[in-house]
């Protein structure tokens, strides 16, 4: 049954690549945003907070369409990127990574923010009295202590990115070998006569990836907690 065809392999590898890139690019941004929301008060904070959670509550097709309007070849940002940097996102796998990154961003940010909020500010004060500038306090105290939350956010974001469908198919379509991820491949297969077996194979693969990701996150979190509190 698990006789995976080359087309299916392509979709699986593409999904992994898209989700990995999306997570790796979104994590530093997510850490920055989480820190701002957890530790700083600024004008428009409630707005930023709402904006980040928007992809979670909007229909994915809406997010995808907004991405197409913004990052498409004729979009405001898309045209600029294409003309000046030669970067095209629409209908490319990189665009799929962008869509997945945006869609998974709220899930990535939330655990990181909560774990930064949970870091004892008195430890940060102690670091300051020992001569650490704010950015070094962040790198040597806040971030290491928030590490379990960062890992949890990364895994959650990765899992969401692997499964993302609506925004991706709207923004970059469903092109085998370029933008056809596991989800879009399953969608195509279901609509094809005799596609059931192949669809089921990909369903099993996605269950496997999701389970592996969750187990890995559990393991990371346990290791990190041990490292922080044990000897």
């Amino acid at each position: 049954m698990l006789d995976i065809s080359p087309t299916e392999w392509t979709a699986i590898l593409l999904s992994l690549r898209v989700a990995t890139i999306a997570t790796l690019v979104a994590t530093p941004i997510g850490i920055g945003v989480a820190w701002l929301l957890a530790r700083r008060d600024f004008w428009g904070k409630a707005f930023v907070d709402a904006l980040i959670y928007l992809p979670l509550v909007l229909p994915p097709v809406v997010t995808g369409y907004l991405l197409l309007l913004t990052f498409g070849r004729r979009g405001l940002v898309g045209a600029w990127l294409a003309d000046h940097l030669g970067i095209v996102l629409a209908f490319r796998w990189t665009g799929a990574a962008l869509a997945c990154g945006v869609m998974s961003f709220p899930l990535l940010v939330r655990p990181i923010r909560l774990s930064i909020e949970a870091v004892d500010r008195r430890l940060e004060q102690a670091a300051a009295t020992l001569g650490a500038a704010p950015w070094r306090v962040f790198l040597t105290v806040t971030l290491p202590l928030a590490l379990p939350g960062v890992l949890a956010g990364m895994v959650l974001g990765f899992a969401k990115a692997i499964g993302e469908f609506g925004a991706t198919i709207t923004f970059v379509s469903n092109i085998p070998g370029e933008t056809q991820t596991i989800s879009s491949a399953i969608y195509s297969l279901i609509q094809t006569p005799d596609g059931d077996t192949a669809a089921l194979r990909l369903v099993l693969v996605s269950i496997f990836i999701a389970t592996a990701a969750l187990l890995a996150s559990e393991l990371f979190a346990r290791r990190a907690t041990q490292r922080l509190h044990g000897n």
Binding site: D120, R122, L123, Q125, A126, A127, A128, T129, L130, G131, A132, A133, P134, R136, V137, T140, V141, P144, L145, R227, L228, H229, G230, N231
Partner: protein, 221 residues
């Protein structure tokens, strides 16, 4: 020389303090709620006074009229907190080394050895703070502050969280610290006996105001 002349409104509570201290150990004495911790948090730069000045050895750290407020990390003022506040993710060795690294100071093995021996913490170096007793944690906190080579050391009831036996265990180290480390200290306590042993000068604080200032004899009612 530490020169403090500040005012700070904290809710309903007004803190006003004006003193100059040249002693080796300035004891800040008062009941809880007298404003002791707020006062040394201002000296450390963690809290900004509403108005007034703070200067250490002629260097202005705070001057509200001139808009000066030096950040805590630039003050070179060490701080030993009541609750130690060791970094839980670093072992004792890395905790001790933290201030030296952050201040970009050259490695000084002789000084480190002296402090480790003074505080008798050589056997703890590879442990994490979670595996230390309260007294051990506090000794490491002294060492960590000392090794950042501060110009002034603030101690906020460093024995407050310890039981009587632990206090008796730590006090001799503090006396040695005073006599051998050569760093002026501000020592906060509500325990007159403790201050009689350690302080060379007393600032008595009550309800946010200084009510007495002078030698340790001001502690005698």
């Amino acid at each position: 020389m530490l020169r403090v002349d500040i005012a700070k409104q904290l809710g309903d509570f007004t803190l006003e303090a004006d003193f100059t201290s040249e002693g080796r150990v300035t004891g800040l004495f008062g009941a809880s709620g007298a404003g002791k911790t707020s006062l040394i948090n201002m000296i450390a730069g963690l809290v900004k006074p509403d108005r007034g000045t703070i200067a250490l050895d002629g260097e202005t750290l705070d001057d509200s009229a001139a808009g000066v407020h030096v950040s805590p990390h630039r003050r070179r003022i060490g701080y030993v907190f009541q609750d130690a506040r060791l970094f839980p993710h670093l072992d004792v060795r890395a905790n001790l080394d933290y201030g030296r690294r952050m201040n970009g100071l050259a490695d000084d093995p002789a000084q480190r050895q002296r402090v480790i021996e003074l505080l008798d913490i050589g056997g703890l170096l590879d442990r994490r703070p979670g595996k230390l007793s309260g007294g051990e944690r506090q000794r490491v906190a002294f060492g960590r502050a000392l090794l950042s080579k501060p110009k002034l050391l603030l101690l906020d009831e460093p024995l407050g969280a310890l039981d009587e036996d632990r206090k008796r265990e730590i006090l001799p180290y503090l006396v040695r610290l005073r006599d051998e480390a050569g760093i002026p200290m501000v020592y906060v306590s509500h325990d007159a006996a403790e201050l009689r042993q350690l302080a060379t000068q007393i600032v008595m604080l009550k309800g946010g105001r200084i009510t007495a200032f002078g030698g340790v004899k001001v502690l005698t009612p």
